[in-house]
Symmetry: C2
DNA sequence: GAATAAATTTAGCCTAGCCTAAAATCGTTT
DNA sequence: AAACGATTTTAGGCTAGGCTAAATTTATTC
């Protein structure tokens, strides 16, 4: 039951999925979609009409789109490809952490199901990618952890560092150089007032790292006991 | 100096290169190109005009095309991608010998130079692909061995099995199952008259294999001492 | 050298996705 | 409720790369 759609359709499904995750209000606006994909609003609008015809989304004119079950499967399929590839490129080929996203972005559209399976097996069927995001299972189930931005935490809070926004290579490099990787447990040990840095200790390291405003805002964490 | 061309242009360059190799007469006919690529002659003709404009080929109307230096580089670049990928898929991911070609066919167009280099390094900079065909070097040099079809040999002839035509998965499976791989030295030990099978011993195996007409015709060998 | 067969090119059309500019709709503000 | 700004949609066009059908050129055969 491979879903035969063009790579443009895959990109739209993926973007809609991601925007639905983010703003949990429901429908995704044409404008948000256009901006996300770097196309004009007119292009997004006409594509949305097509996606509706394909049964990928439900579109209420002027109201936005929602993924159908079928559309969700398209999105999760390509998301699985993307995240497996990121993991594979990082782990097996030593692609730098901040480059895996862009490489995976093009490969995800041409990965066959056979290759997907071979890669998953080679990696031992991993459940998270190098950014810490969950990899959908082969039957396209996924649990997105509920995360909050680290800059909203207070001293004494602790949890697990989940991921940093895909789109900032600089931050990925910065954290990578300090050995701070997704999955790490952490604890907030200090917080400066007036937008100053927040200090967090990761793993079992003795030393706490200062995390400035933009960085702390981009780091998503799962808060827990 | 990455050559920025569409994947259609890459496919044309690759096909022209391959046809130039085969029939060493010189120019490649529009018809042969069309048939090779599975498009109409009209499509090939209009694309050829475009390729000429891009400086990929020189086209003399009604006479055929010849790759330019630039076109040769496009072809060798994608050929390097293709053959490195075949090798990588077979060796690192265990893709069956008869499937590597089709997988590589789509991946070759989206492989970045960085990834190409990482893959080459991981494989130890191999010089032949799983079919026995030479892999162009990073600076796009290649030496295609002079081969003949095995069915033209006589008892007592010997040499090295180089490759079998890319396009026949059935033969690849058949040979693979018998442990006959590119690079193997061989010797002709018997030959039946009237188009009957030819018998060849491979490597240091004691037993000779019978190779029927179509198979022996598809197997390309380098004859030597 | 003329007729015909085969190869090649041209002409005209199609689809997917993108674009800009103009129209329509929505939501808000008076 | 009317008007304004923001969003969305429609209208019309563009490019890449296919297609078929018709014209043209080349090659061959009488």
């Amino acid at each position: 039951m491979t879903l035969e759609v063009s790579s443009a359709v895959q990109d739209y499904a993926k973007a809609i999925y991601s925007l639905e995750q983010r703003c949990d209000g429901g429908a995704v606006s044409t404008n948000a979609l256009a901006e996300r994909l770097g196309v004009s609003a007119a292009s997004a609008s006409s594509m949305v009409k097509k996606l509706d015809g394909l049964g990928i989304v439900e579109h209420v004119p002027y109201r936005g789109v929602v993924l159908t079950g079928r559309g969700m499967n398209v999105a999760l399929e390509v998301l699985r490809h993307h995240r497996l590839l990121e993991r594979f490129l990082a782990e097996e080929l030593g692609v730098p952490w901040d480059r895996v996203h862009d490489e995976a972005e093009v490969l995800e559209h041409v990965l066959s199901e056979e290759l997907e399976e071979l890669i998953a097996a080679k990696l031992g069927h991993p459940t998270i990618d190098p950014h810490g995001d969950p990899i959908p299972t082969a039957d396209l189930k996924i649990v997105e952890p509920a995360t909050v931005a680290m800059d909203g935490l207070e001293v004494g809070d602790s949890g697990r560092f989940v991921r940093v926004s895909d789109s900032d290579p600089e931050m990925l490099r910065y954290l990578g150089a300090r050995g701070i990787a997704p999955g790490e447990p952490f604890e907030i040990v200090d917080k400066q007032p007036f937008g100053g840095p927040i200090f967090a200790r990761f793993g079992d390291a003795g030393e706490a790292h200062p995390l400035g405003g933009r960085l702390a805002a981009a780091m998503r964490v799962e808060v827990g006991a």
